[in-house]
């Protein structure tokens, strides 16, 4: 290290497009000296893919004039893992385990959208037991809370407010505890399965849900009193990242960004799935179409989610001992998993039964687990309202035990296109707020 001279830091080289500077941090002084000497006024700055405020590995190429952004282009693909391709080499049930890892902050939504598409292909949408649907709705709403918590917490953090992140992650932790109790895992649960859910409500589950709802409702106040009406927060967010309804429609934007323009488009209301038509809740909108409006939409959606969860808890109390998997034994996994002291695992009772008493059950189990079920050929599209907008799944089957093609219409992927529309003409500091308000999750963008 000692061999470096000052010139080695912000080194520059000549290209046909002008001088290019490599800035690695802490060497801005030398950069300013060099740029100050040149006559060029436009500077191209490469933000990311490792920038802490870009929500993961997002790269943004900025063309700046002073501190004004003249052009912003997003570069993605750094987190592409080929999940869609991999699903083609696993059976339909295993698909949940893969797709849950796409948008890792909203795993339940990925699983549900996928399962709804598979169930549509199987033509069993009407046969899903009510209890499974209620559990799905409850898990989705909890997941919406945990996802919004990250959006709010990291969004505030990136704009320099540290405390909201501490509060948000404290709340998120409680939601993850619920996930762990119900599914055995805190993230990427593969809990929603084609035909129902992986296991029944654990003992004491409903009480824990009620307790958590009470806790969350009380503690959301910490963040709302910190941020709503806070003059610094308003100065950083109001009028920033403006994108009106026309812009949203043109760019295919859905979710909180769309609802912040005043259009109450929410698939839970307009095209209900999983029985959302049986719940009493409001679609939250604002009409400012800016970062502050999107923040308010997310903030107020938390309370609506809690309302839905309470109704789920009421329904679940009445549905004790009801099935959580479709009755068709050719599709339903023959056993519910059980949560042991070391996490989720096989149901020992079921293993005892098939190994000790029934050869046919053993064969059946073996066939279903190794081979999986066949899905009639055709294609289907299913969509759910995820925390970021419409998560759509296009599933194609060739009649076999594996998906022929699974495609996720990821809201993050689509919404990220609006970076240019939101940021061009604004100050460089406002880009951070604008991107945070889109709430892109790169795992979902790149898949």
């Amino acid at each position: 290290m000692s061999n470096f001279t000052e010139n080695d830091y912000a080194s520059s080289r000549q290209t046909t497009e002008g001088p290019i500077f490599d800035v690695t941090g802490g060497d801005w002084d030398s950069l300013v000296t060099e740029i100050g000497a040149s006559k060029e006024e436009r500077v191209v700055v490469n933000m990311g893919p490792q920038h802490p405020s870009t929500h993961g590995v997002l790269r943004i190429v900025l063309e700046l004039e002073g501190e004004t952004v003249k052009e912003a282009r997003a570069g993605i693909g750094y987190l592409h893992t080929g999940i869609e391709k991999t699903t083609e080499f696993r059976n339909w049930t295993q698909g949940t385990t893969l797709v849950t890892r796409m948008d890792y902050l909203a795993p339940i939504f990925n699983e549900t959208a996928y399962c709804l598409a598979v169930e549509k292909l199987l033509n069993i949408t009407d046969q899903i037991p009510e209890k499974a649907q209620v559990i799905r709705v409850m898990m989705m709403e909890f997941n919406r809370i945990s996802s919004h918590m990250v959006a709010l917490g990291t969004g505030a953090l990136e704009l320099g407010a540290l405390s909201p992140m501490i509060f948000a992650f404290r709340e998120r932790e409680k939601v993850l505890d619920i996930f762990e109790m119900f599914s055995g895992l805190r993230m990427n649960m593969a809990y929603i399965r084609p035909g129902g859910v992986a296991q029944d409500v654990p003992e004491g589950g409903i009480e824990k849900v009620r307790e958590t709802v009470k806790y969350l409702r009380e503690n959301f106040k910490d963040n709302s009193t910190l941020l709503i009406g806070n003059s610094i927060w308003i100065a950083r967010t109001k009028g920033i990242g403006y994108l009106d309804l026309a812009g949203c429609t043109a760019l295919g934007i859905t979710g909180p960004v769309l609802r912040a323009t005043g259009l109450p488009w929410d698939l839970r209301k307009t095209q209900p799935y999983c029985g959302y038509e049986n719940y009493d809740f409001d679609v939250v909108t604002t009409d400012t179409a800016d970062v502050y409006g999107r923040f308010l939409v997310r903030m107020n959606e938390l309370e609506q989610s809690l309302r839905i969860i309470e109704q789920c808890a009421d329904k679940l109390e009445k549905l004790e001992k009801a099935p959580v998997m479709v009755a068709d034994k050719k599709i339903a996994w023959p056993a519910q998993l059980s949560v042991g002291s070391d996490g989720m695992g096989n149901s020992l009772e079921h293993i005892r039964q098939i190994m000790g008493t029934s050869m046919e059950s053993l064969i059946h189990h073996f066939k279903l687990v190794t081979e999986g079920f066949r899905v009639p050929a055709g294609q289907a599209y299913a969509a759910v309202e995820s925390p970021r907008g419409e998560t759509g799944v296009h599933a194609v089957s060739d009649g076999g035990t594996r998906p022929y093609r699974i495609h996720f219409r990821e809201p993050s992927f689509n919404n990220l296109q609006s970076v240019a529309a939101m940021c061009e003409g604004s100050m460089i500091a406002d880009i951070i707020g604008a991107i945070a308000s889109i709430d892109p999750v790169m795992g979902g963008v790149d898949r």
């Binding site: 693909g77 592409h80 429609t249 259009l263 307009t270 050929a377 294609q379 022929y404």
Partner: protein
């Protein structure tokens, strides 16, 4: 055996993926014929008849431009010819009020000769709360589809992704280049002739082949 030109899938032999002596199950002789996908007949049910009627009324070349209309699993699919796509999309957006195009997805059917690559566009009308799916089929040798970016600007990245993954060329796209894979990548990963990859893993003397080379049910 008669092959079905309507179906994008070929008939299958045996219960496992192997063609050689690997299949010891006794199911090697099983032949599963390919499913049929014909055009649906009227009435389509739901709001689908209205969409078909309105489109027919608004578009004079309806009979030329539309290959078939399929209603399956409560969803309406309109298969259109590539050179009519722009006009149909324009009518669907402006007159039938399908304001949203939720991207485009490719599907590769190697058995569907001369129509190997399908591009699928899910459209959404918020005004009427309706959905419809457009499907365009092109061949591997001439994979050109007009770009919808001029009508639905939000399709920009989606078309880039479909180009990246399938090699479908969207004519008129403002900057059709790879988006998820590196710029210098060779091949289009989501095509069926593109291998999944992976290496055999040895553990305690036994070797597990990569997923695509394993014997598997189908």
């Amino acid at each position: 055996m008669e092959s079905n030109i309507n179906s994008p899938f070929a008939e299958q032999q045996g219960a496992f993926g192997t063609q050689t002596s690997g299949d010891t199950s006794g199911f090697g002789g099983v032949v599963k014929s390919a499913p049929t996908f014909g055009s649906s007949s009227r009435p389509f049910g739901s709001y689908f008849d209205d969409i078909a009627d309105n489109l027919e009324r608004a578009y004079s070349e309806f009979r030329d431009g539309i290959e078939k209309i399929v209603v399956d699993r409560g969803e309406l699919t309109i298969q259109v010819k590539a050179d009519h796509l722009l006009e149909i999309a324009q009518i669907l957006r402006d007159q039938l009020r399908f304001e949203y195009c939720l991207g485009v997805n490719g599907v590769h059917y190697p058995e569907d000769v001369n129509r190997e690559l399908h591009a699928v566009y899910p459209l959404l009308s918020m005004t009427n709360n309706q959905r419809v799916r457009l499907e365009v089929c092109v061949s591997d040798s001439n994979p050109h589809i007009p770009s919808l970016v001029s009508i639905y600007p939000g399709n920009n990245w989606h078309e880039r992704e479909t180009y990246d993954m399938f090699g479908i060329i969207f004519d008129g796209h403002p900057a059709l280049m790879r988006i998820l894979m590196p710029d210098d990548w060779q091949g289009h990963p989501q095509r069926k002739d593109y291998p999944l990859g992976g290496i055999p893993v040895e553990y305690k003397g036994a070797t597990t082949p990569p997923p695509s080379d394993r014997r598997s049910y189908r």
